[in-house]
Amino acid sequence: MADLGAISLWIALALSSYAAIGSFLGKARGSVELVVSSRRAAYLAVLVLFVCTLSLVILFINRDFEVAYVARHSDLAMADRFTWVAFYAGNEGSLLYIAFALAAMSALAIWRAPSNTLDTLPYTTGVLMVVLVFFLAVTGFMANPFDKLPFVPPDGDGINPLLTHFGMFIHPPMLMAGLICASMPFAFAMGSLLGGKTGDEWVDAGRLWGIIAWALLAAGLLLGSWWAYTILGWGGFWFWDPVENAALMPWLGLTAFIHSIMVQKRRGMFRMWNIVLVNVAFGLALYGMFMNRGGPVPSVHSFGASNLGWVFLAFLAVGVLIPFALFFWRFPLLKSAQTLDSMLSREAAFLVNNLLLLGIAFVTLWGSVYPLISRLVAGEEITIARPFYDQVNGPLFLALLLLMGVGPLLPWRRATAASLKRALLAPGSVALGLSAALLVAGIHQPYALIGFGLGAFVTTGIFIEWWRGTRSRHRSTGDAYPIAFLRLLAANRPRYGGYIVHLSVVMVALGVVGTSFFNEQRDVVLGPGESVQINDYELRYVGTVERQKSNRTEFVSTVEVYRDGKLRYILQPQRAFYPSFNMAATRAAIRSTPVEDLFVVPSENLPDGSVGFRVLVNPLIWWMWVAGPVMILGTVVALWPQPVRTTAPASSRVARTLARAGGSTTGAL
């Protein structure tokens, strides 16, 4: 099985190399056969990589410890369902996963490419295959998951206990898929540049794949936060860890991109800017993978130190420099079809939004890189962690929130002072009124006041527009209100899907503001029968039961929660010690409501039976986790294909098929 896996890995490498070279060469020489056969090679690579992936899964299920990777990341005690997690527990497996995801998404992107990109599709294919070749080569030569040990150990090392959590089933694959998915819009943009197109042809495909990558990353980030919240045992969800940052930056770049690409789609503007943005997003995604896999900075994510760093760095350099060189080469083609009419327009708002997003990404990058610079240049060892990001990025995020409220209220092209006033009046007064009311009610933290005010501003703006649209639809068509609302959403999915996503961002903001400014924390050591008071909860520690499991000792503590003198519920937080990793993993007990979470986690078990607890009341954090599904809903709405309404040429489908079958004849010749 290990041999099958290894062989299929090499076959996939050969296929993708052929597809990369064949696509470029075929396009350059005008050879339709070569282009078509390259494309088939790209499709075939998916199949071969599937076999390869499957062999590693089977090796894990059989616990074939002769394979070094299996021995290092699993043991006999591991439940079979954790195979899924063990698969990407180290560099070798995650690289294979990334390659497989890339191959599958590339095939899908090539197969479903919009007809207006068919001409440059060979270039797009070529670019995608170059990226795939890189990942496969690194996997094959430097981190081969099928390498064998010279002996067969009786048992493996076991899976990292931090990974045995439900969130880990989804968070890493989502994030890795999101990062690699950033190659798709990039490849379409590069295809368009290489083919010497004027710039708008790649927009639809770029937007589609940009949004998919964005949503995958967003879901991955949220799931990661949730994992940190429930398992890391300190009660927070985000701490500006270098690897978190590395995943956040491409997300910020993609957020900028999917906004700015709309301007090009609608108005034919920002052509150069979008190319720059998609390059930046791709570069940041490569950087994210570099940090994740063999990064030089210490992090909770460094599951395996490795020597992959310099290869990734080299590819990163190539992946940033060549696209920018291409960009300057094709610069004259990228003139805007339109000009900006006014500073008070949605286009201008999008530009400012882009600046803010890139600014946050820059601050984050700076924070990750500066300690290195400081060490090399000033000889000063420093750390840049959460307090820095909170202070510098905090205000930028608030500004972004403001823009998220204003942008959608501005019309394209030009707003008049009167229309602007009309649009901003209601949301603005709600926001100001709310902030004033909160001030009177006793909240004095300026950031919290601004944050809540802006949240209300965005929400009111969206709801008012939904309300007006629904009412107008109700009046003109006679639909009942709920139906009118749904039809309104259906009639303009990109826009209203975007609004749903905006609402989910407000929810995240609620959670962040709530926990940053209003959380309560107690660190206490309690003997059995003792209790602690936090806000209006009283927690009484009853006792701890010790359970021996095959690979760990679990300490399950029982805590009774009283409110107003009455027993409300019983929580059972756990702490488990894994001797083989010399590591303790905690599982917090969380009582979650939309108002606040009560969070209890044992931090130490003392010999006399008393337990050190961390008890937290985290207001509004519930909204963060609800934001995830809402965001996905919004994304699905935004991406759901519009029904074809005009008399689209019936020939288009035929032309598509023909063009695909015959390769891109027009461009090739």
Partner: protein
């Protein structure tokens, strides 16, 4: 407006629930009184020396527990936040601080992103303004509104309860005006509507 009211009430309710921040007090019986919030805030400013990228507020290892205790003891002895941070900095070096001090050569860490951001904003606004100027000059011949759209625009503005129909700018010129029926998506301004917010499918170039 009722929606707006409902939203603000719900936000307000949340706010009131957290308006009062209760007591500083001692949680660890072994140490006399200290400001608990201050202690937790200091926990977030010191890195755990042995764990990767975690503050002592997060890390669950013995040394960070000891450091937390030390922070509390010093607080209860009346040390200020700065004194405590200085103490740890002297002992472990500057990299024990979760963010570099805003002084000396370390000021670079703080100043560069702020200046960079300001520079980018100024440059961005200048670019937008120059683009807008150029646009305003060239757009003159485009601004005539499509006559056919006027009645629709008026109708929609009436529906939206906006008094002055026809004020908004000209329709975008990439849109055919064939989709302006009353059931089209309703934006907040007339021009939004006039263009329809959806792209008509691209014509096949083949």
């Amino acid at each position: 407006m009722s929606i707006a009211l409902a939203i603000s009430v719900s936000f307000l309710w949340v706010g009131v629930a957290y308006g009062q921040n209760p007591d500083p007090g001692s949680a660890d019986p072994r140490i006399p009184a200290y400001d608990q919030e201050e202690a937790q805030s200091i926990d977030g400013m010191l890195m755990c020396p042995v764990c990767p990228a975690e503050t002592i507020g997060q890390a669950q290892v013995e040394i960070s527990r000891q450091m937390r205790r030390l922070v509390r003891e010093k607080l209860s002895q009346g040390d200020s936040r700065q004194e405590i941070l200085d103490f740890f900095q002297d002992r472990y070096g500057t990299d024990i601080l979760a963010a570099p001090p805003k002084s000396g050569v370390n000021l670079v860490a703080w100043v560069v992103p702020v200046l960079g951001m300001l520079g980018a904003l100024v440059a961005g606004l200048l670019v937008i303004r120059s683009m807008a100027r150029k646009g305003a000059g060239e757009a003159v011949n485009e601004t005539a509104m499509d006559e056919d759209l006027a009645p629709y625009l008026e109708m929609i503005d009436r529906d939206l309860g906006l008094g002055d129909a026809g004020v908004p700018g000209p329709p975008g010129n990439r849109q055919p005006p064939d989709n302006v029926a009353g059931v089209e998506p309703v934006g907040n301004t007339g021009s939004e509507l006039a263009t329809g917010d959806t792209e008509s499918p691209e014509q096949d170039v083949k």
